[in-house]
Symmetry: none
Subunit: 210 residues, 2 copies
DNA sequence: TTACAGTGTCACACGGTCGTAACAATTCTC
DNA sequence: GAGAATTGTTACGACCGTGTGACACTGTAA
C-alpha cells in the first residue's frame, strides 16, 4: 500500500477480533478501518473503540466502498475522523493520514506553568502554591493544567469535557461543576481558588485579574 | 441544496472574483469551495485565503468531481479541512459541515472590540474600561457586544431583540429599555454610558460621537 | 475479601438574572 | 402651556444557573 515506504509503522489485521489483539499490544497513533469487516461490522468496532478509554482518542479513518453513504454519515456521527472512498490511491491515503494526524496530535506541553504564585509542573506531576504542596486528584490536575495553559479565556463545559476528559466521551456537563468545585477546594488554602472564575451563562475561566 | 433548510445562512458566488467580494462583506464561518472555478482554479483561491490573516482561520470544505485525485491531495496539503466527492447528498453535506464546524468553531467571532477606552473581549468574556473590570449580566454582555460590533447605526427594539435575544422569541419590546438601562448603569462608573445613545422614535445607537 | 481513593450523578438551596408592569420623567405636538 | 407620546427608572415575582453535599459505582492495593 505504500504506507511503509512513507515512513509509517503498520500493523495489519484481517478481522475485528485480530484487530482487538493488535491494538492491545500498543496504542496506535491512528486506525485505518475498513467498513466491511468479516464477522463484525466496522461501525460496531468503532463504537466499541470510542467507549474504551484507552482507545477513545485514537483517530479513525474509515474505508468505504462507493455509495455507502449511510455508513459514512453514521461513521462521522460516531466520531470517525475521516473516510476514504474506494478506489483510492496510496498517495491520497498518505495525504489524508498526514492531515488527520496533523489535527489530532497537538504537541503535548511538558513545560512548567506558573501564575501568581501558583505553580504546576507536568514533569514531576506536582502542584504547589507559595512553597506549599497541593494535593489534587488526577482529573483536577488535568483540569488545572489545561486552564493554566489557556488563561484569560472562557470555556464552555462542553469544551472542557473535550479538552480535559477527551473527545468522544459521554459525561454530563454538570460534572464539570463538581470537579471545578473540587479543584477550588484544593486551591482554597492558599487563596488561589479566586483564579478559577465562573462566567455565568457560559462556563469557566482561569484568570489572574479580579 | 438544503443548507438553508438546515439553518445555515448561505451566500453564493459563481466565480473566485465574486467570492472575494462576498467574503469581504463579512467573514464567513465556513467556505464551501468548488475545485473547478471558472477563470481561476480553486486551489489558488484557497492558497490566497490561507495567506490572508482575516481568512486564515476560516475552514474550507472543497467539492471535487470524482477522479480529480491530484487536486484532492494538493487541497489537503494546503489545509482544506475536508472534501466531498460529487455526487453527494444534501444530508451528507450537512453532516460534514457540522463536523467541521464542531472542530473549528471555538475560534469564530472572537475578536476584541475597543472603543474610546471601553473594551470588550469575547475570548475571555470580559468587559473593561480604563483598566477597570466591569461586571455585566449575560444579556447586557451580548447587547454591548452587538452594539460595539455595529457602531454608528440605529437599531429598533425589534432588531435588537432579533440580534441579541434571537429570532422567534416573544419578549416585550420595552424589555430592551430595561436592559439598556442596566447596561448603562454598568458603564456609568467610567462614564462610558454616554456611548449608548437613545434615538427617540426609533431605538438605540452605539456611538463615540456626542 | 476489605479499605480506599477517584469519579460521575443527583437533589437541594441559594443567588443572580430576566421579563413585566407601574410610575416618573422627558420630549414632542398642537 | 396642555396633553400625548416616548423613554427612564424602579420594584417584584418567576425562573434559570451554579454551588454544594451526599451517594453509588469502579478499580486498585493491601
Amino acid at each position: 500500500m505504500g504506507l511503509n515506504r512513507a515512513g509509517f509503522e503498520v500493523r495489519h489485521a484481517d478481522s475485528a477480533e485480530d484487530a482487538e489483539g493488535a491494538i492491545r499490544l500498543g496504542v496506535p497513533d491512528l486506525i485505518l478501518l475498513d467498513w466491511m469487516l468479516p464477522g463484525q461490522s466496522g461501525i460496531d468496532f468503532a463504537r466499541r473503540l470510542r467507549r474504551d478509554q484507552h482507545f477513545r482518542e485514537v483517530p479513525i479513518i474509515m474505508l468505504t466502498a462507493r455509495g455507502e453513504e449511510e455508513d459514512r454519515v453514521r461513521g462521522l456521527d460516531i466520531g470517525a475522523d475521516d473516510y476514504l472512498t474506494k478506489p483510492f490511491s496510496p498517495r491520497e491515503l498518505v495525504a489524508r493520514i498526514r492531515a488527520v494526524l496533523r489535527r489530532t496530535t497537538p504537541t503535548a506541553g511538558d513545560e512548567l506553568v506558573a501564575v501568581d504564585g501558583l505553580q504546576l509542573d507536568p514533569v514531576s506531576h506536582r502542584v504547589s502554591a507559595d512553597d506549599t504542596t497541593i494535593n489534587l486528584g488526577p482529573t483536577e490536575f488535568r483540569l488545572l493544567h489545561f486552564l493554566m495553559t489557556h488563561p484569560e479565556r472562557v470555556f464552555t463545559r462542553g469544551q472542557l469535557l473535550d479538552n480535559v476528559w477527551g473527545t468522544n466521551v459521554y459525561v454530563e456537563e454538570r460534572t464539570v461543576d463538581v470537579h471545578v468545585r473540587r479543584l477550588r477546594k484544593g486551591l482554597s488554602t492558599t487563596g488561589h481558588d479566586r483564579l478559577v472564575q465562573t462566567v455565568r451563562g457560559t462556563g469557566y475561566r482561569f484568570s489572574s485579574k479580579a
